[in-house]
Symmetry: C2
């Protein structure tokens, strides 16, 4: 009953042509979609069609109805959140993977899916210079990779939580997880899911440049132990979401060793930069971590989703997750890797394929070159901010994200903090309303700060210059 | 630095041609890959390439190295596990979605992604005849959808687990979850992740046709309450994995109401059949559930992954999961839906696109027609088993999966149970070794049973006949 091959061929060719045209003209679209809430919905029928519709009609509607409601993550001037990026080789990888439609749950269900995942993650491990003791697995998102890591940390306490659970156990102290106040919210969410609870996530304060205060970390651990609680792990971040700050991982690792805590490193965004020899300083100590998450779908040209969890202790992931019912037992299960044993989801897409195609199509040299360009653009943008009397930098720029705000005449206009916050929020909204750039924001110690995050494969230096021009133009009314 | 458009165009066209040729000749491949453990790995270099490789080389290797290690889930005689199925419209949907590469985390990040998900899940809700009170969300897999549902059940206990967690709380009784001995292992895994613990998952026995015994369910609930435990929910299944049995959902629902328990219905496989008016009996009472999971990627022609979680109580999902840090706050957040608030993962692929294309391309009529064909093939295969003296049916066949075993001359050969198990395991392995069919197995009350699961869009009646011929031929040696 499937579409016939001729129609598939014609439709897929139309899709290719559309994608190419779209990629060559992405910068002609408003970055941020301009539709109002409900506008897309109102153009779609309330009920599904009874009869088959032609694929050309569907593709017409895709272009006419769906595209205007797209915020263009592919736009070279999408500078919001983290600017993630896909790429042509990754798209072909996804295309073939969706055609093969294998479930990479166990080795037998497609040996190539399992073995290619092993090989390509070995390549990736080698590229980011982690020791051979780290095993990798691909998950959908960093939220899930980190949840798996913390589940392993919880299992490593030897309270047999897998079997006995956490509730109604007088033998079980409160479990405590340590993060910094700059740690990504997905970690707090993981603690909620895992039954640790938000209140048992200790948010350690950060220093002037948003790095976790390790003195406070150790002090809190001691107080918690004295109070009969059970610290289970620490999450350190290399490239936090607000400012891309880098926690002192080596120091945190030695505290973890001292108190026998699991160290999880969130390098979801920053991780790929470890491919650059000149930036290895950022990663000192991460080889001491028990687990590390790096997302190729953020900053390594891979279409969403592809999040890699590396761990030195895959046995603990297996302890936390493995369950093999009769209908999934296979003759080979003791001599092969069955990735379903190491995470939450049984069903697993064949995500290694796109990563393999990307790494081969670019080679490590081109990947390095592009990351260096992005870092260089960020340096240039940072210099513009620093040199201007009406703007100030809000945080150091170790990676490709610049956090800044308008502060007319460097504060000599004597705007109150509330006024500055309001001015910057209005400025950002005006900039985004141009459709030429999309920036997002954060708050740093109560200060509304604008973020410009560079990461798209299509971004060139002229995009950074244009963004700055637009920012200056829109800022004028606040500086008079 | 991306591939240039000409190379992308040529490579993607080569991929289309390959896919079409593959789909038109899938039945010429051995269903189950014949490679040995390590065979794929040994053909791949240990280190990533430094320099860019041509895309034609990569596609050559895809065909030469990767494909022999693929188990063909697209093969019309893939009858193992649940026979999931993609389709041409779904593949084009994935292709475009990977090109757009949007993160459907909140409305602003692409209004079309959010609103199309709302619309297409309204269509789907209408198709499966659930009341308008159910809200849908797309997750990757049923493992995750069910985990979310049980997290909501846990949150609904009013113990404020989100904030306080589960451990070190003398006020908190043991939380108990009820399933049947036929419930899918992903539920037990969810209980492990959520800190409920395997030992607190009560596996209620099943009747002669593998349906949960509701008397025992209620009895266990009472005993647990008397013992000071806190029952939180029951998982009922419409289409269990081993036999596709159907739990008495209406009865279970009334027990849940009586004891104020969350009812989650796992209809991951069986759910789409609710589109058929003549099969509505199977689903009586599911409208009383608090949550229901249905996977379009199993039996509705959608490439993996696409799992729909419907819930009457989305507020509880939100209570369990919502966390909005400053950098994700948007002006519209109170008037739009932000799907990131209802699940584990922050990053979300634009999965609604493929489902929309599939439903439109086929229309509900063709979807019904194909499901009816699959049900009809199963009936026919079932009749063959029933009519043969050397085979026996091991369970009723409400859906498209037939569970049977070889029992020569209906037991008059007086093989012991162990011998029968060994014979059937050898028979299955011999059948699978032909490369013509792929069957899997389960154990029912200790009896090794062979499963033939029909679900592929390409399967036709001749494939069922051929499977039966192969089974008979391979069974001969055991019947002499």
């Amino acid at each position: 009953m499937d579409l016939n091959s001729e129609i598939f061929s014609a439709s897929a060719r139309r899709a290719i042509d559309w994608i190419i045209h779209y990629f060559e003209h992405t910068d002609e679209y408003p970055v941020l979609s301009r539709v109002k809430p409900g506008e897309i919905k109102s153009q779609l029928p309330e009920l599904p069609p009874t009869l088959s519709e032609s694929f050309d009609t569907i593709l017409d509607d895709f272009e006419k109805i769906i595209i205007p409601g797209i915020t263009h993550w592919n736009h070279p001037r999408f500078f919001a959140y983290f600017s993630i990026t896909g790429s042509y080789p990754g798209i072909i990888g996804e295309f073939l993977s969706s055609a093969l439609n294998v479930n990479a749950m166990n080795w037998k269900s497609s040996p190539s899916a399992t073995e290619l995942e092993e090989v390509v993650l070995e390549w990736f491990r080698y590229m980011v210079q982690l020791p051979t003791t780290f095993m990798g697995i691909i998950n959908d998102t960093a939220s899930v990779s980190s949840l798996c890591a913390i589940a392993a940390a919880r299992e490593a306490t030897a309270f047999n939580i897998r079997e006995l659970g956490l509730s109604g156990r007088p033998d079980l102290p409160q479990l405590i997880l340590y993060v910094s106040e700059e740690t990504h919210s997905s970690i707090e969410r993981a603690a909620m899911v895992l039954g640790i609870g938000q209140n048992n996530v200790r948010k350690i304060s950060t220093d002037a440049v948003f790095r976790m205060n390790t003195d406070e970390l150790e002090q809190r651990i001691r107080v918690d132990i004295d109070n009969g609680c059970k610290p289970i792990g620490v999450v350190a971040t290399i490239g936090t979401t607000s400012t891309t700050s880098i926690d002192p991982v080596a120091e945190i690792a030695s505290i973890c060793r001292k108190y026998n805590l699991w160290l999880h490193v969130d390098a979801a965004y920053g991780g790929p930069v470890s491919i650059l020899p000149e930036k290895r300083d950022y990663f000192v100590g991460w080889e001491l971590a028990d687990s590390i998450v790096i997302n190729p779908h953020k900053w390594m040209f891979t279409p969403i989703d592809c999040s890699v969890l590396f761990s030195r202790r895959p046995d603990m992931l297996k302890s936390a997750f493995s369950l093999v019912p009769e209908y999934l037992r296979t003759a080979e299960q003791d001599v092969v890797k069955n990735y379903m044993d190491y995470g939450v989801a049984l069903g697993r897409r064949f995500r290694a394929l796109k990563l393999w195609m990307i790494i081969r199509s670019y080679g490590t040299n081109k990947i390095q070159k592009t990351l260096r360009e992005h870092l260089n653009y960020a340096e240039k943008f940072k210099a513009k901010v620093e040199e201007h009397d009406d703007f100030e930098l809000m945080a150091p720029v170790p990676f490709s994200t610049v956090v800044f705000r308008l502060n007319p005449n460097h504060g000599k206009h004597s705007l109150s903090n509330d006024e500055l916050n309001s001015v910057n929020e209005r400025l950002m909204n005006k900039i985004n309303a141009t459709g030429e750039v999309f920036l997002s924001h954060t708050k740093l110690r109560g200060n509304f700060s604008i973020r410009l995050a560079i990461g798209n494969i299509k971004t060139i230096e002229a995009d950074i210059d244009l963004a700055w021009d637009i920012i200056l133009k829109q800022a004028k009314e606040f500086c008079s």
